[in-house]
C-alpha cells in the first residue's frame, strides 16, 4: 500500500511539471508586457527597461524558466506586480474563506446528491426518478452567478432572512459564519450536486441489474438489505471518481461565487488580479488550484481500496 501511495504521488509529478511549464509559458507568450504594466501609463522607455531587467525579463527564456523553477522549489511564488507583496503571503491571507466555502459546498453537495441519486435508482422510472433527472439536467444549465443573484434577491432582499454578501470568520462566531455561507454554498453546490446525483443514479442502477443482486433476492434478502448491504458499496467507485473529477467545477465555480457574494477569498484575489493584470498573482493562484485539484484526485485514487478490495496495490 505504501509503495502504491508513493508511486501514485510520483505519477502526479510529471503532470504537475507540465502544469508548471504551462503556467510559466502563459505569461511569457501573452502579448502584454509586464514591465510596461508595472511602470504605468506615463513611464519612459528607460523606466520600463529598468523594471524589465529587475524582473529578469531581459534574460533568455530558458534562463527565466530555470529561475522560476528554483524559486518555486523554495516556495517562492514571486511578488505581486502592483503591491510588491509576496504572492505566497497574499494567497495565505485569502485561503480561509475559500477553504470554508469549498468544504461546505463539498459536504452539502455530497450529502444531498448521493441519497437523491440512490433514491432515483431505487425507484427507477418513478416520479421521484424523473424529478431527480430533471433536476440534474437543470442544475447543469443554470449559471452559478445567476442562481446566486436569484438567491440573494429572494432570501436576502425580499425575505430578509440571510445576509446579502460578505464573509465572517468562524472565529467571530459560528452562527454568523454559517449564515454567511448558506447562499454561496447552495449557489456553488447545485452544479456539483446535479453531476453527482446523475452519476450516483447511473452507477446504482447498473449495479442493481447485475447477477449477484438477483442472487441476493433469490436467497431471500429483503430489498433494503439488498440495497444497503450488497448494492451501494459496489456502486461507490464511479461516484468517488466523479467527486474528484468534478472538483474542477468547484474550483472554477469558487471564483464566480466569491465574486457574486463578495467573499474575500482566493477567487476574489484572482478577479482583482485580472482587473489589474497582475500576472504573478494569476500564475500563483492557478498553480495552487491545480495543486489542490491534483491532491484531491490523489486522495480519490487512494480511497478506491476502501470501496473495492479487488483493487489492490
Amino acid at each position: 500500500m505504501l509503495v502504491y501511495v508513493l508511486r501514485r504521488i510520483l505519477a502526479t509529478l510529471p503532470v504537475m511539471g507540465i502544469v508548471v511549464v504551462f503556467v510559466f509559458l502563459l505569461v511569457r507568450i501573452a502579448p502584454g508586457d509586464p514591465a510596461a504594466i508595472i511602470a504605468g501609463d506615463y513611464a519612459t522607455p528607460e523606466n520600463i527597461q529598468k523594471i524589465r531587467v529587475g524582473l529578469g525579463l531581459d534574460k533568455p527564456i530558458y534562463e527565466q524558466f530555470w529561475i522560476y523553477l528554483t524559486s518555486l522549489a523554495r516556495g517562492d511564488l514571486g511578488r505581486s506586480l502592483h503591491s510588491r507583496l509576496p504572492v505566497s503571503q497574499l494567497i495565505l491571507q485569502r485561503v480561509e474563506p475559500t477553504a470554508a466555502l469549498a468544504l461546505s459546498t463539498l459536504s452539502f453537495a455530497i450529502l444531498m446528491a448521493i441519497p437523491l441519486g440512490i433514491l432515483a435508482a431505487w425507484k427507477a422510472g418513478s416520479l421521484i426518478d424523473r424529478a431527480v433527472m430533471v433536476f440534474a439536467v437543470g442544475g447543469f444549465s443554470i449559471p452559478i452567478f445567476w442562481l446566486g443573484f436569484l438567491l440573494i434577491y429572494a432570501f436576502s432582499i425580499r425575505l430578509d432572512l440571510l445576509p446579502v454578501q460578505g464573509y465572517v470568520s468562524f472565529r467571530e462566531g459560528l452562527l454568523p459564519f454559517i449564515r454567511h455561507l448558506i447562499l454561496p454554498t447552495i449557489a456553488l453546490g447545485l452544479v456539483y450536486m446535479a453531476l453527482l446525483a446523475r452519476i450516483t443514479r447511473a452507477s446504482v442502477l447498473e449495479v442493481l441489474q447485475s447477477d449477484y443482486i438477483r442472487t441476493a433476492y433469490a436467497k431471500g434478502v429483503r430489498p433494503p438489505g439488498v440495497l444497503f448491504a450488497h448494492a451501494l458499496k459496489n456502486a461507490a467507485v464511479p461516484v468517488v471518481t466523479t467527486i474528484g473529477v468534478g472538483f474542477a467545477l468547484l474550483i472554477g465555480g469558487v471564483v464566480i461565487t466569491e465574486s457574486v457574494f463578495a467573499l474575500p477569498g482566493l477567487g476574489r484575489l484572482t478577479v482583482d488580479a485580472i482587473l489589474q493584470r497582475d500576472y504573478s498573482i494569476i500564475q500563483g493562484v492557478t498553480l495552487i488550484f491545480a495543486l489542490v485539484y491534483a491532491l484531491v484526485n490523489l486522495v480519490v485514487d487512494l480511497s478506491y481500496t476502501l470501496f473495492d478490495p479487488r483493487i489492490r496495490y
Binding site: V15, F140, S141, W146, G252, I256, F289
Partner: protein
C-alpha cells in the same frame, strides 16, 4: 419470469407513412425534440434580432434610466436608459456564436489529434501527457488566465475556451480509435494495402462521428456557460458588446433596485444551455446508448 405477452412468431410488416414515422420519432425522443426546438428558437432570436422590435442595444437614454419592465420596455431599462429587451436579444448572438465556434474547433482539433494519438503509438504518449497537463487545470481557471493575459476580444475568448475543452475530445476520439484498430475491418483494410491517411479518413473517421457530435453538444453548452462567466468576471467579451455575461456584470450593483436587469439575461442564458444539454442527451440516447458511459 415468463414473458406475459410472448412475441408472435410472425410480425406483420406495416408500412408507416412519413407522418406516422415522424410522430413516432417525436414520441420516442421527447427531450431531444424539446431541446432542438428551444435551440432553434434561440437561433431564430439571434438571427432575427434586428427585426424583433428591438432598438439599438447601445443607445443611451438618460431620462429613461432604470425603468421597470412595462409596455414601452418589455424587460425594463438599465442605468444608462438602454433598453434591456434589445440588449438581451442581441446578447444571444454572441453566446451562440461563441458556443458554435468553440464546439466546431474542438471537434476538428480533437478529431485530428485523437486519430493520430490513437494510431501512431510513438506520438501517443507525448500527446496524452500534454492533454493530462491541460486537464489538470480547472477549465474556467485556465480560460480566465488566458483572457486575463491577452487582450479581451471575442477571438481570445474562443481560444481560451478551446484550449481546456480539447483534451476531453482528444481522449474520447483516442479511446474509440483504440477499440476500432483491433476490429477485423481495419485489419482487412490494412491487409488490402490501405495507407494510414486513407484508413483514418475512410474507416476510422465515420465511426467516431456519433460520439463526437454528442460530446460537441456538451462542449457547446459549457462554452456558452463559461463565456458568460468570463464576461461576468470582466475577463471575457469586451464590455461594450452586449453579451449576457456583460449585461449581468454591469447590473450586479443594481440587484436591489433593478432586479430585472439580472433576471432576463440569466433566464435566456439558462434556457439556451438547457436546450443544448437536452439536445445532447437526446442525441446520445438516440445514436448509441453505450457511449453514454464514455462521456465525462
Amino acid at each position: 419470469m415468463p414473458d406475459p405477452s410472448p412475441e408472435p412468431a410472425f410480425i406483420p410488416y406495416v408500412a408507416l407513412t412519413r407522418g406516422q414515422k415522424a410522430r413516432r420519432f417525436i414520441r420516442r425522443n421527447p427531450t431531444m425534440i424539446a431541446g432542438a426546438l428551444l435551440l432553434a428558437l434561440m437561433a431564430l432570436v439571434a438571427i432575427g434580432a434586428p427585426w424583433l422590435h428591438t432598438v439599438n442595444p447601445v443607445d443611451m437614454n438618460p431620462i429613461d434610466r432604470l425603468k421597470s419592465p412595462g409596455a414601452g420596455h418589455w424587460f425594463g431599462t438599465d442605468m444608462y436608459g438602454r433598453d434591456s429587451y434589445s440588449r438581451v436579444i442581441y446578447g444571444s448572438r454572441i453566446s451562440l456564436f461563441v458556443g458554435l465556434v468553440v464546439a466546431a474547433l474542438t471537434s476538428v482539433i480533437g478529431l485530428a489529434v485523437g486519430l493520430v494519438s490513437g494510431f501512431v503509438r510513438r506520438l501517443d504518449n507525448v500527446i496524452m501527457r500534454a492533454m493530462d497537463g491541460i486537464m489538470a487545470l480547472p477549465d474556467l481557471l485556465l480560460a480566465i488566465s488566458f483572457v486575463a493575459l491577452t487582450e479581451a476580444s471575442v477571438r481570445n475568448v474562443i481560444i481560451a475556451l478551446v484550449i481546456p475543452q480539447t483534451p476531453r475530445m482528444v481522449r474520447l476520439v483516442r479511446s474509440i480509435v483504440l477499440v476500432l484498430r483491433e476490429q477485423p475491418f481495419v485489419e482487412s483494410a490494412l491487409a488490402m494495402g490501405a495507407r494510414l491517411p486513407r484508413l483514418m479518413v475512410r474507416h476510422l473517421l465515420p465511426n467516431t462521428l456519433a460520439p463526437l457530435i454528442v460530446q460537441g453538444t456538451y462542449v457547446m453548452a459549457s462554452a456558452v456557460l463559461i463565456e458568460a462567466g468570463l464576461s461576468f468576471l470582466g475577463a471575457g467579451t469586451p464590455p461594450e458588446i452586449p453579451s449576457w455575461g456583460n449585461i449581468m456584470a454591469e447590473a450586479r450593483s443594481y440587484v436591489r433596485v433593478a432586479f430585472w436587469l439580472l433576471l432576463f439575461p440569466g433566464l435566456f442564458l439558462a434556457l439556451t444551455v438547457l436546450s443544448i444539454n437536452l439536445l445532447g442527451d437526446g442525441l446520445r440516447d438516440l445514436l448509441d446508448p453505450r457511449i453514454a458511459r464514455r462521456m465525462r
